[in-house]
């Protein structure tokens, strides 16, 4: 028998509200707000309150999927990344770097987003960078 609360940052937007993930016998069973935390002080929005629901969802993907002959097939990360690199290279060669756009995410850290825009500008060669908070 084990019950504990794990303090973490809500994964849904860039605000950074903290919340507790309730862990019962190794499984997530719910969320509790973090009273006294500097960002939201015990409050959460509806996304934060449901931030545990997707983690153990049966529909959650565990591997990348590659569309082969019209249907999605499970693939390894190496295989998926190699395909993305190959296709991005083909698109750039055929239509130019500005035919490619990069969408970053408010759910990522600053550092991860920095790497992504660096990838867009230095590797792909485009300034087409936007983020999910404007979608």
């Amino acid at each position: 028998m084990e019950y504990k609360n794990v303090l973490t940052t809500c994964p849904y937007c860039g605000t950074g509200c903290n919340l507790h993930l309730q862990v019962l016998d190794g499984k997530l069973v719910g969320v509790l707000p973090a009273k006294g935390h500097v960002i939201a002080d015990g409050g959460l929005c509806i996304k934060g309150w449901n931030a545990y629901a997707f983690v153990q969802d049966k529909d959650r993907l565990h591997t990348p999927l590659i569309r082969k002959n019209g249907s999605l097939v499970e693939a390894s990360w190496d295989e998926a990344l190699a395909l993305v690199a190959e296709r991005l290279g083909q698109v750039k060669a055929a239509h130019g770097a500005d035919s490619i756009g990069i969408l970053a995410s408010a759910k990522c850290t600053n550092e991860e987003n920095y790497i992504l825009q660096k990838f867009a500008r230095a590797v792909i060669g485009t300034n087409n960078v936007d983020h999910c908070a404007r979608l």
């Binding site: 028998m1 084990e2 504990k4 969320v31 509790l32 006294g36 959460l44 509806i46």
Partner: protein, 274 residues
């Protein structure tokens, strides 16, 4: 004046060998507090035992007990939380026979924060801290003399700020229905803010809290919009007390009004229209 934290630590330490676990608050990273299951296998956890801020521990107790129905658990509970546990037991959410309650008496600052009329436990066999008297709830008392128009204007302004986070429902230990009416499009239209008048979300919730709310004020505390919704529940509790002589969570073997079969003449005593 007693050292509540030290006394509580000793009380929990004494209980640990006798039960499968003790539900109480624990300080975590950055000093942030959360409910925790203390167990004899991890005595070092007791160093981080905490008193405040309070959390809805009756719900934590329910979650653990439902997964481990054979276990004997203890819980550190304040007056409101004890009433919550008693009320949940009446609605078959908690098996009281397998629960040992450690009563933590609130201090004046805590009672003032909660506008609490009963900041003390009544059934816990072990208690920590000195019992103090309740404090008046000026916010709720002001409603007793407000006109219908004034009340409507007040709630209209308050509910306009609601962002429908469902936090008040989620945090409430007394909200345990498997199917929640508040998720039905008939009552709460998805995606519409501010919610239209009448605000069905809040009215349905207020009705469902009848004879269930134990005034723990967790809903008000977690509300990002700062809506003082406990006022409604306390006014309803006042009516329930007058109509049915029922005080939520106070007496273990008194049936709540929802479970009562009214005898001939009982309905007339409530003063409700026929």
């Amino acid at each position: 004046m007693s050292d509540r934290l030290n006394d509580l630590r000793q009380a929990v330490e004494r209980l640990l060998p006798e039960v499968d676990g003790v539900v109480a608050l624990k300080q975590g990273p950055g000093g942030i507090v959360a409910p925790h299951l203390f167990q004899r296998e991890q005595p070092a956890d007791l160093a981080a035992l905490a008193l405040w801020p309070k959390y809805p521990v009756p719900d934590t107790l329910k979650i653990i007990q439902k997964a481990h129905p054979g276990s004997t658990l203890a819980v550190v509970c304040r007056g409101c939380e004890e009433r919550g546990i008693v009320e949940m037991a009446k609605h078959a959410q908690i098996d009281l026979a397998k629960v040992r309650m450690v009563g933590l008496q609130c201090v004046a600052d805590e009672a003032t924060f909660c506008r609490c009329a009963k900041p003390f436990t009544a059934h816990a066999t072990v208690t920590v801290g000195d019992k103090i008297e309740g404090v008046p709830d000026a916010l709720t008392d002001a409603f007793l003399t407000k006109s219908q128009e004034e009340k409507l204007a007040f709630w209209k302004e308050q509910f306009t700020r609601c962002i429908k986070c469902y936090g008040c429902r989620n945090i409430c230990p007394q909200c345990f229905c498997n199917v929640c009416a508040l998720e039905d499009e008939t009552w709460v239209e998805t995606g519409r803010l501010p919610m239209p008048m009448p605000p069905m979300y809040h009215l349905v919730r207020a009705m469902h809290m009848t004879a269930k709310c134990v005034a723990c004020r967790e809903c008000e505390e977690t509300c990002p919009a700062g809506i003082p919704m406990a006022i409604q529940f306390r006014l309803i509790a006042h009516d329930v007390q007058q109509m049915f002589g029922y005080e939520t969570g106070a007496v273990i073997d008194q049936k709540p009004p929802q479970l009562l079969v009214l005898e001939e003449g009982d309905y007339a005593k409530t003063g409700l229209p026929h």
